[in-house]
């Protein structure tokens, strides 16, 4: 089992390397000139040249990459020209917010999607299944940012049940930093008011984000459950007298889960990318918002840093999914 994990870990390295090269190439091949922008319209050529040298942007490309890669290994993700901070610091500051959002969305998607898919399969081809198919298609067709906007309109502006945006009101004191997740940290600190506030702020963005994976997970679960139900071993299970409830909830679920698990892992990665839109709508201070603002200012190191961070997270999630798959499906462990 340990070898299995180690092997998967080793496979990550070349991909990571390729990722850094790719992002670096994109950043440097691009026409924009971030230094000139940063220096402002009144800067002289000398000042721009000095800034450029300061950021190491006057070296040949290969040297720049090597310096960058070396820095990466030491945890140096470059420097953001606009926040005037190391990108690594920015990432650490903003990543927890994004993670909290993504986790919340995935939690909703999984908790609702898996039983939903199971139910759709058990009642397959009757009208609830048909309706759920249309609903799923509608869910993935709905642009996340539009949905966010509509949720804001309805719940924050008209009904005024939930806050408009942001993660935590400035006037309150956030709970002590433990995990970076405000909801969990508030629970740990026993601060009920902070917990409720954080949760209320998390609500709408999480819902806006979860719809798409929810629909896909449900369809995936439904499809694999239907396939499992047609397997010989299910007929055998019935023939030896096991109750339908036992068959579905214990056996079929586990069989169907393995296929769905890969989808969950994949979606986690896509959500990490998709937080950009939702964070913008709700002013959620995560790396998505950070990336957007950096891009618009043509500040590249942060964008590379964000892409790297997301890529890395994605790989880690896939590794976890792979391992879980190995736990569920014993045959895989020995490959």
């Amino acid at each position: 089992m340990l070898f299995f994990i180690l092997r998967r870990l080793v496979l990550l390295l070349p991909v990571l390397f390729g990722l850094t090269v790719l992002m670096f190439v994109i950043a440097r091949v691009l026409p924009g000139d971030p230094v000139a922008l940063a220096a402002g319209p009144n800067a002289t050529a000398a000042e721009i040249a000095r800034l450029r040298a300061e950021f190491g942007l006057d070296q040949p490309l290969l040297m720049q990459y090597l310096a960058y890669a070396w820095g990466l290994l030491q945890g140096d993700f470059g420097y953001s020209i606009f926040t005037r901070r190391p990108v690594a610091d920015d990432l650490i500051a903003f990543l927890p917010a994004t993670l909290e959002l993504v986790f919340a969305a995935m939690l909703l998607a999984v908790v609702l999607g898996i039983p939903g898919g199971l139910a759709a399969a058990v009642w397959a081809n009757r009208w609830p299944d048909y309706a759920s198919r249309v609903a799923a298609l509608a869910a993935i067709s709905m642009p996340r940012f539009f949905l966010g906007l509509l949720l804001q309109l309805l719940f924050a502006m008209w009904l005024m049940w939930l806050p408009l945006g942001g993660r935590f009101p400035i006037i309150l004191d956030p709970p002590a930093f433990v995990t970076g997740f405000l909801t969990i940290d508030a629970l740990i600190a026993g601060d009920r008011e902070a917990f409720v506030t954080a949760l209320r702020h998390l609500c709408l963005p999480a819902i806006a984000m979860c719809l798409s994976p929810l629909a896909t997970i449900m369809r995936m679960m439904r499809a694999s459950t239907i396939e499992v139900l047609q397997q010989d071993y299910v007929t055998t299970a019935r023939a030896v007298g096991l109750s339908p409830r036992l068959i579905v909830f214990k056996y079929v679920t586990k069989n169907a889960l393995s296929a769905t698990l890969t989808v969950i892992g994949l979606y986690f990665g896509w959500l990490l990318g998709g937080t950009v839109l939702v964070e913008t709508v709700f002013d959620w201070p995560g790396i998505g918002l950070y990336a957007t603002r950096s891009i618009v200012s043509q500040d590249f190191m942060p964008v590379i840093g964000v892409a790297l961070a997301i890529g890395l997270l994605f790989m880690v999630v896939n590794l976890i999914v792979d391992v879980l798959y190995g736990v569920i499906n014993p045959k895989v462990r020995y490959t």
């Binding site: 991909v15 390729g18 990722l19 790719l22 992002m23 994109i26 950043a27 091949v29 691009l30 026409p31 924009g32 198919r133 249309v134 298609l137 509608a138 993935i140 067709s141 709905m142 642009p143 996340r144 940012f145 539009f146 906007l149 509509l150 804001q152 309109l153 502006m157 008209w158 499809a223 990665g269 896509w270 990490l272 990318g273 998709g274 950009v276 839109l277 913008t280 709508v281 990336a291 957007t292 891009i295 618009v296 043509q298 590249f300 964008v303 590379i304 964000v306 892409a307 997301i310 890529g311 994605f314 790989m315």
Partner: protein
Amino acid sequence: MSDAALPPPPESARSLAWRRAFFRFRQSGLSMLGAAIVLLVIFVAIFGPWLAPFPEHVAGGVDTANRFRPPSWAHPFGTNELGQDVFSLVLAGTRISVLAGLGVVVIAALVGVVVGAIAGFAGGWTDEILMRLTDLKLVIPGLILAMAVAAAMGPGIVNMVIAISLAWWPGFARLVRGEVLAKKEEAFVTAARAIGASPARILFRHILPNIVSPVMVKMSLDMGFAILTVASLGFIGIGVRPPTPEWGTMLSVARAYMPDFWWTAVFPGAAMFLAIFGFNLLGDGLRDVLDPRARR
């Protein structure tokens, strides 16, 4: 012995398959709905500029006296912060979105088919290298990649389309490679080689026609998401420049005027949803009908 006495030649297997597929397609209400929506969208995309009641607004003209008028007979979708008719803008935006989406899907398909076909057919090192390349693209969320490239290349629809296509082609490449690999092993290819057909001929005449169907299915399935991505980039502020009307950009601007002037956001957003939904329904229906492996 006149020719009229002869029975009509039997229908070729392929055209029979197409007819059957079309018949099955017609059976599904949802697919027909999708087809109807798509036709509507395409119609508006083509004839939009002539249908818009206020073309001068589309071109950039403003009418500040009429700012923020709620929906009425004169302005079915109301007016925005510049007094422009939202209905006209939405109609014009259809053209942008559809064209951009189409551009993305077509470019991605072309690049993907070429890469995938070469990788699948050549095998060996070529295959390995090309596949690592596509794998890499799947590690970065497409939106972020498209964002980075689009932002770097500067504003404009063309750049945006290229940027998104760059993130999109790996999907096609994988699909085509898989299909080519599968077809390569089939008997008719061995037969063709046995009679001395050149690799190029085998590729073009025998293998490629068989991958048209899955590629087309993927293209139609992807169309909806391509439009979504275009709108997403517009929302972030990358892509088209004003005064070109684009649904995502309209939404981004309209955010500031919520909730009082809700129509400036709701209508473009609804149009966005409708177009994407229609394409997805159509694509889903096509897939059910053309790709027997993906049966519900």
